[in-house]
């Protein structure tokens, strides 16, 4: 067919889409909009649900918020004197999380730096697969390791009377957080523009100078995000700490003391607290407390990152 015959005519007609295609596309747009918005709906629904379950106890005469926040006495099923103090539980959560982060942050950031700067491509791929596998180990398996292997090691090497304690929980949580910090931290380091690296190398920087003076400062927001995700995992983790921390209501005086965390307490007691009872409502209030703590951590991270950006 001669090509000239068609080009001689007027501009080709605009393709007309069928009505079905137009509406179909609109429908799909609506659908993905809804899935985007569903995150907000879910978080509001969760908030509404836990607050609704917890609210009645806040207005009960027998409940005092001061006692809830600042007393260490947790006697939810006492026959003579019921007391709902969560200070020891909060202290337990804090102690285990801080110890986990002290152990996990140097390892996690160090691992991320090693992966992105100091190892060959083949070793990096192998290590990344193994680290991701480490992240996929179920928490109950970590708890099991804490309960059996780690507790025996702790008793042997520290002379502690009981191997399930803050140290055990901290080590287990650190092991669980490191893969997250490494994966996300490595991505953050990879996202530093190549031009920065090239410029530093062109100026004659050594590898260490490159890492400490260029990469880490440039990737600090991403690294902070990685660390905070690790913190989030540590605060929210339940099964492993339930098994590894010894489950004792007390303010720890050292890393060899047993503690109980807010999450472990909910997991252990909610199953047997009669639905709708005061004990049940207080456990939901503990959930609200956890929610507020994680929200504050996230908010702090957001503010730090934003503050840093504003100063630039």
């Amino acid at each position: 067919m001669a090509p000239t015959s068609s080009t001689g005519a007027a501009a080709p007609p605009r393709p007309i889409r069928s009505r079905r295609a137009v509406w179909g596309e609109r429908g799909i747009e609506l659908l993905i909009y809804a899935s985007g918005m569903s995150a907000i709906v879910f978080i509001l629904a969760i908030l509404f649900f836990i607050f609704r379950e917890a609210a009645p106890v806040l207005f009960s005469d027998r409940f005092s918020l001061t006692q809830f926040l600042f007393s260490t006495e947790w006697y939810p099923t006492s026959v003579s004197n019921v007391r709902y103090g969560t200070l020891a539980l909060s202290a337990g959560t804090l102690a285990v999380t801080v110890l986990a982060m002290v152990l996990a942050v140097p390892f996690g950031v160090g691992g991320a730096v090693f992966l992105s700067q100091f190892c060959g491509p083949r070793l990096r791929e192998t290590l990344k697969i193994i680290i991701e596998l480490l992240a996929a180990i179920p928490s109950v398996v970590w708890g099991f390791i804490g309960l059996t292997v780690m507790s025996r090691l702790i008793v042997t090497y520290t002379g502690a009377p009981v191997g399930v304690n803050v140290l055990n929980g901290g080590i287990i949580l650190a092991l669980m957080s490191v893969p997250i910090i490494v994966s996300i931290g490595e991505d953050a380091l990879k996202a530093v523009p190549d031009s920065y690296v090239e410029a530093a190398l062109a100026l004659g920087a050594t590898r260490w100078q490159l890492v400490f003076r260029v990469l880490l400062p440039a990737a600090r927001h991403g690294l902070l995000a990685a660390v905070l995700l690790g913190v989030g995992r540590a605060i929210g983790e339940t099964m492993a700490v339930l098994m590894a921390t010894g489950h004792a209501v007390q303010i720890p005086h050292g890393i060899l003391d047993s503690v109980r965390t807010l999450t472990a307490n909910i997991a252990a007691e909610l199953g047997e607290a009669p639905a709708g009872s005061e004990h049940y409502q207080v456990l939901f209030l503990t959930g609200v407390l956890l929610f507020i703590i994680t929200m504050l951590v996230n908010l702090a991270a957001d503010l730090i990152i934003r503050g840093a950006r504003a100063r630039k």
């Binding site: 006697y75 003579s80 991701e132 025996r152 009377p161 996202a191 991403g222 995700l229 199953g271 991270a301």
Partner: protein
Amino acid sequence: MMGQPVSGTRLDHLTRTITAAALLAAIAVLAACGGGAGGPQPQTTTIQNKGSDTMVNVAQAWAEAYKRAAPAVDVEVSGGGSGVGIAALIRGTVDIATSSRNMKPEEIEQARRNTGQTPKEIIVGYDALAVYVHRSNPLEAISTEQLAEIFGEGGATVNWAQLGVAIPGVTDDTIVRVSRQSSSGTYEFFRDHVLGKRDFKLGSRDMNGSKEVVELIGSTPTAIGYSGMGYATPAVKMLRISAQTGGEAFPPSVENTLNKTYPLARSLQLYTLGEPQGAVKAYIDWILSDAGQQILAESGYVPLPPEQRHP
């Protein structure tokens, strides 16, 4: 919250692989289950059984053995605690509630108001709550008063030296108290019968199961704790118990439980709404027979003496 974009392609890939493997496994399991469901089904009766965590293992064992004895009857067992089972009975949603404590008068009244029927109690066996210490602990006997000083709020005993006990090879002889989570029926029994309804001292290691208590004591020379007598292991020792300090102490055993000389013995019971009828009655009669009692004994509890059994 995150300052940098995060690429997760590898993680996605990994997740897909794992999901695919899980799906395959699920399909295989479904297929295996489906294969067994062929053929005509006889008419089955279902008995709902809920309650005590102490008894959930034996209730499950009963249900499984009874399936062989009477294939047309399905017994569905769930735990949750004695209180949960009793609450369900009051609502009338279960046929049998298992309980390691007695129903309180107000609960009986509630059940009568709600369902118009009076709960019937059937004792199906006994359990002795044993006090365990580590195998290397030289202590052999203890009184309930001494236990209250160790475990009770305000109790003065914190070291083994205060009891005149020296544990070999231990420098710090602080007593490690092993207890149960506060919603456990065993915890309530110990509080009511040893501490006289006072509260526990805080700082005890509160385990989530009878077995965990014994395991922790087995690995801790300075520990003491309580659990069912069926959970004993070679790493721990059961103490003899006296009601008063200096009084005669009795070991937890079948005879001492039945003749009530052991201070921490309790009965295990079933509750039904009104007199048990039909399939429920047949099931309970079977539990009270030699076959059912044999299973109870194998689960580590104290069976009924022969004269209380069903012929």
